[in-house]
């Protein structure tokens, strides 16, 4: 059978380093008051880190298109659930007098 893609060890060390730097950055950023930007920065770093893990540690970078689609579908569905539910919470009270 095909042995799958074997990534060089150096690449793994590189990703590991990037993840550690990301962790340090996110901790550092949390202590700086940037208002609403704090959340954006925090989530951006977390998403980048997750993406690195998925692409390299989990080998999606070298996987079939089906794996890409399935891995993405989980997050897309998560966004759908978030989007529609928060659409309700965010638009509450838009009509005066209805209390909802």
């Amino acid at each position: 059978m095909s042995a799958g893609h074997v990534a060089p060890k150096s690449l793994y060390y590189l990703i590991f380093g990037a993840l550690m730097i990301g962790t340090a950055l996110t901790v550092g950023a949390a202590f700086v008051d940037m208002g609403a930007l704090n959340n954006v920065v925090m989530l951006a770093i977390a998403c980048t880190k997750a993406l690195l893990v998925i692409l390299f540690f989990m080998h999606v970078r070298w996987s079939s298109r089906l794996t890409w689609v399935i891995a993405a579908s989980g997050f897309v569905w998560l966004l759908i659930m978030f989007g529609f539910t928060l659409a309700d919470y965010m638009s509450r009270g838009w009509i005066q007098g209805t209390l909802r």
Binding site: M1, V6, F16, M42, I45, F82
Partner: protein, 248 residues
């Protein structure tokens, strides 16, 4: 009575032919099977692809499983922004960051464990990586245990005995409810992961894995990395939102 499809072409799908021809039923396949090939698969590649695909589909369900908790978190955080910041400020960010590093390190060792099996390294080196991952996982859980213990002594465990002397007791209780649910489920996944890796280590010791058969290591690795990813989100969302929060 029970005609095989090959001799019943009028009943069969039009134009369907069996190129393997009679005399090659599956069980009596002449060329040698890999010992790990299960009977219902055609070859090792199909078997390996099915397993990794299965694990990916499973991870999608895991995303949605944790997703429900993240949704609750998002809703309540948007409703009680300051309360959540106040509650979060009571978590120990040093321990959280330490655990994040530990888990990322364990992902690295797991990746090397997969690589060792993939490249057919000696069982000994496979076991070293697996055991190293287990040690790191256990370290994470031990730290988590001390964090939980601290919550119990300070009565910040939600429930009747919850005590909060800050300004937002209701929001803090919801925050800690979510904290315990999220980290608790995450820890449960870690414990399951440790169980899987114990099994992997035993298998590796028997010399099961080599470059033709390493699927169990690979799919366990996927699982372990997923647990790492969950923590990558949990850490900032739980520990870091209150760092620039000033009471009052």
């Amino acid at each position: 009575m029970s005609e095989g499809y090959s001799d019943a072409p009028t009943v069969g799908l039009p134009g369907r032919v069996s190129i393997q021809g009679p005399g090659t039923p599956h069980d009596g396949d002449s060329h040698a099977h890999h010992p790990k090939l299960q009977h219902h698969f055609d070859d090792m590649e199909q078997q390996a692809e099915a397993s990794t695909l299965g694990m990916w589909v499973f991870l999608v369900t895991e995303i949605m499983f944790f997703g429900g908790l993240f949704l609750a978190y998002a809703v309540y955080r948007s409703q009680y922004p300051t309360g959540f910041q106040e509650a979060s400020a009571h978590l120990n960010v040093t321990l959280g960051a330490f655990n994040t590093a530990v888990l990322i390190f364990s992902s690295l060792t797991m990746a090397f464990a997969v690589r060792a099996a993939q490249t057919g390294e000696k069982p000994r080196s496979q076991i070293i990586w697996i055991v190293l991952t287990m040690i790191l996982g256990a370290t994470f859980l031990v730290v988590k245990y001390f964090e939980y213990k601290d919550k119990f002594t300070h009565h910040t465990v939600p429930g009747p005995s919850f005590v909060w002397d800050g300004q937002y007791p209701a929001a803090a209780e919801i925050f800690y409810s979510l904290y315990f649910c999220m980290t608790g489920l995450h820890a449960l996944h870690m414990i399951i992961g440790l169980g899987i890796m114990t099994w992997l280590a035993i298998m590796a010791k028997k010399g099961t894995f080599n470059s033709t058969y390493y699927t169990p290591v690979e799919v366990s690795g996927l699982y372990w990395h997923f647990v790492d990813i969950v923590w990558i989100f949990l850490f900032p969302l739980l520990y870091l939102i209150g760092r620039h929060y000033h009471a009052g």
